[in-house]
Symmetry: C3
Subunit: 347 residues, 3 copies
């Protein structure tokens, strides 16, 4: 794919500064970029890279200070503009297969929407529904009565059990399991008895779920993933968890049963949350934190057990200063002994 | 499904207090319950919810104090009784498919028990055995010579490699991998050489294994999961690990090679255990703990590196009090300086 | 399989000490070994086990002190020799299936090398290439234009997306996902927009990847796993990560986007690394560490946030001594008060 800088600027509604006729043949990060590449810079902190990049053009904000000898496109939001350019330069990427493969097995009463594409060796059980334009890649399993919306994309070897609801424009990556039984047992006479997990999972529109994620069905009622929430790889979401809208749940996070997460929450990588707590809207949990109590809206929590970020930082600083502190106490002890000796000599 | 409270009480051998003719149409948690629902309360701590729940009936223990105006069933064990009610109200849940799908591929010498059900696109390699009434969902792979007991349920897209033994009444959730090679290498001249992993995995009766779990085969001998042990999603069990009976291994726990876990052990979420240690019977490891040494029977360990729970708690409390402590030391220093000045002035 | 000790010694080029005619029928660890087994001992620390093992023979180094009444083979590298013996005693283990199963679906332009073996229900999309002698087990998905080298082994139910490059002599265990989209979003007006992930993944020769691992494709350019690197189960490798050669990445490690790992690096279990940092050659990160800054070559880092190992250890020791320290400060306070009283009385 070859485009002039002028053509790209038109698509992203930006203003060219420099040579609008330069031909762009590739896309890259600002550090790795070579001649022919277009790149972008959103964070002013990295503006020195503008002078050193080998890119043929850089997308920048309207305010960014730019060196004279390079080609730029000025836009309101460089990240978003760059995302559009990536799509523009890779028109094939959306080219999924079409049609129903002859080896796809559709149960009784399965309803397929217009242009739904079902890959090889997919099994869709009785009374399931797949919406318009949705694509289900080979090797997926869709359980009985499960409903999938329109324009949803399910990558290979995903397992979705019975009675799950998946919205529209959802993306689910390979190996992910949705609707597995929650981890619920009751101990009677020293043995664990399974509590049937008869609820389900509801995934709202515009959600994206990474690879090898596990989302358990509710014991009863629903495990819920809210609209526009994005879940990274290898995340564990236990039964009856409720996650709000537009959250970012980073890789390897674990959320225990019945915990409720608000909107716009960020849970950073490998964080763990106990069950039956709430995390307020816009809260942030930093990486590897262990959250044992509810977190108020807007707070940033950190550490184990998780505490307000600054408090946790301060605590780390105190621990860091312990060697000096121990030395000081030792010195004070000595000075006290000297004082005691002197006083005694005066008696 | 509609049942009167009287019918339910008969099944769970409980005594109705209130209106035995009330019709129950659903099940729910005590907080979410609506009219028509039955729920339960096991923990006296939450007894105030009895007065506020909208449920049409609540299953409680014989000792629980109950408000006058509601319907109850008194039983010995409310949790267990409720589990029975869930099954009673959802008779379809056990309705797995029957028969051998025409696309299931059975190798030479494969033995299938009476009523074994094998789903579409399942591959069972030579000389494997599947017991009576066991159900293997679509997309599973069962390796050569692997033996699976009776009444075992294997969900879609599970991979079980060769020569593995799985007991009876075992449940394995989707995406789980059993019998993958242990992580064993020997470094020679700066390169890692694979040590063949020629052992196997043995999973005893009544075990449940969550989704996307990995259980490696032993280097030699066996990796063992004991009877009745329950394993949550995304757990890693390395080669030659031996886990006892009735353990609860919560999501995202990792157990390193050759570690031996006793009976009735609880490993809470995201805990990690180094290799070649032992964890005694009835021990508990709290969430996210990093266990670097063996743990005696009955102990509760916590933190990183994991220590006895109370010791770890105390340590956290000391750290928490460091700011006060630092202030105190500063103050003491000042008082010592004053003493020194005074004493000097007296010389 | 039965071999005399003499036969085994010939294969591993070792010297028999004791009865060269003893018949070996099994292999085992030194503690579990029974009569008929051969075992090995590499670490002199465990040499007392030589006197107590029930093994019929032990492979030891040329320098190891050995008790008189047992059978040994002395070799230069006991671990490597033992690995060879394991293969020798298990000649069937390499016995993978042959040929292209009739249910394997090969897209247009797929190229298969000599003796490539493709299992049942494998889907290989257009223009993919599989090298000589490579084996792809049932249920795998190989995306469009993906290239797999020769002598590579892919276990059941692996998903490899489009345009990925996998080298030769690579082993990939079941359930693993390679080439899933990186976790990249840009927030505009309070909603997360997907940034297309149009890069790919490149896996060099002699890499081994465990079960249920996730390796995301790059946003652009490549996510790279270097030659000879070994990755354990349930590891997360984010977009644009670059891992060098001969690294060991232990189970449940998570590496965030664009982080660069050198050669011969060891990341122990459950460690987490933030994005955009570098880890120098030969560095070691201990289990569960949280790495938030770059690590120099050769360093060993530990804790959260990860610091040089000894510094972290010292910090733990200081925290451990806090109770004594608090007592001491309390005592000093008392002594100061006594001094103050005495001085006052003298005024």
């Amino acid at each position: 794919m070859r485009k002039t800088l002028r053509e790209i600027a038109q698509v992203i509604e930006g203003d060219v500064k420099g040579d609008a006729d330069v031909v762009i043949t590739g896309i890259s990060g600002i550090k790795e970029a070579a001649s022919g590449d277009i790149t972008f810079l959103a964070n002013p902190k990295y503006s020195p890279l503008l002078a050193t990049t080998s890119a043929s053009a850089v997308i920048v904000s309207k305010e960014m200070e730019i060196p004279p000898a390079k080609n730029f496109i000025r836009v309101a939001n460089p990240s978003l503009a760059f995302a559009k350019v990536i799509s523009l330069m890779n028109p094939d990427e959306a080219g999924h297969f079409k049609g129903i493969h002859s080896s796809a097995l559709l149960g009784k009463g399965v309803k397929l929407g217009k242009n739904a594409a079902i890959g090889a060796y997919v099994v869709i059980e009785d009374d399931a529904e797949i919406g318009d334009n949705s694509v289900i890649y080979p090797g997926c399993f869709i359980g009985r009565m499960t409903k999938i919306g329109s324009d949803t994309l399910i990558h290979p070897n995903v397992s979705i059990r019975e009675r799950v609801a998946v919205g529209s424009r959802v993306i689910i990556h390979s190996g992910t399991v949705i609707g597995s039984d929650g981890f619920g047992f009751v101990e009677v006479d020293g043995r664990q008895h399974k509590i049937p997990q008869v609820g389900t999972v509801e995934i709202a529109d515009d959600v994206e779920i990474g690879a090898n994620v596990t989302i358990d069905r509710a014991r009863f009622n629903k495990t819920i993933i809210g609209r526009g929430t994005k879940i990274d790889n290898l995340v564990q979401i236990a039964h009856n968890v409720v996650i709000g809208e537009n959250c970012l749940i980073v890789a390897q996070v674990g959320i225990s049963g019945s915990t409720v997460i608000g909107n716009n929450v960020i849970l950073a990588g490998q964080a763990g949350l106990v069950g039956h707590i709430t995390v307020g809207d816009n809260a942030i949990v930093t990486a590897q934190s262990g959250v044992s109590k509810s977190i108020p809206a807007g707070a940033m929590f950190s550490g184990y057990p998780a505490r307000p970020f600054l408090e946790n930082q301060k605590s780390h600083a105190y621990v860091h200063n312990l060697p000096k502190m121990f030395d000081l106490v030792k010195e004070l002890k000595k000075r006290i002994e000297e004082l005691e000796t002197k006083l005694k000599s005066k008696e």
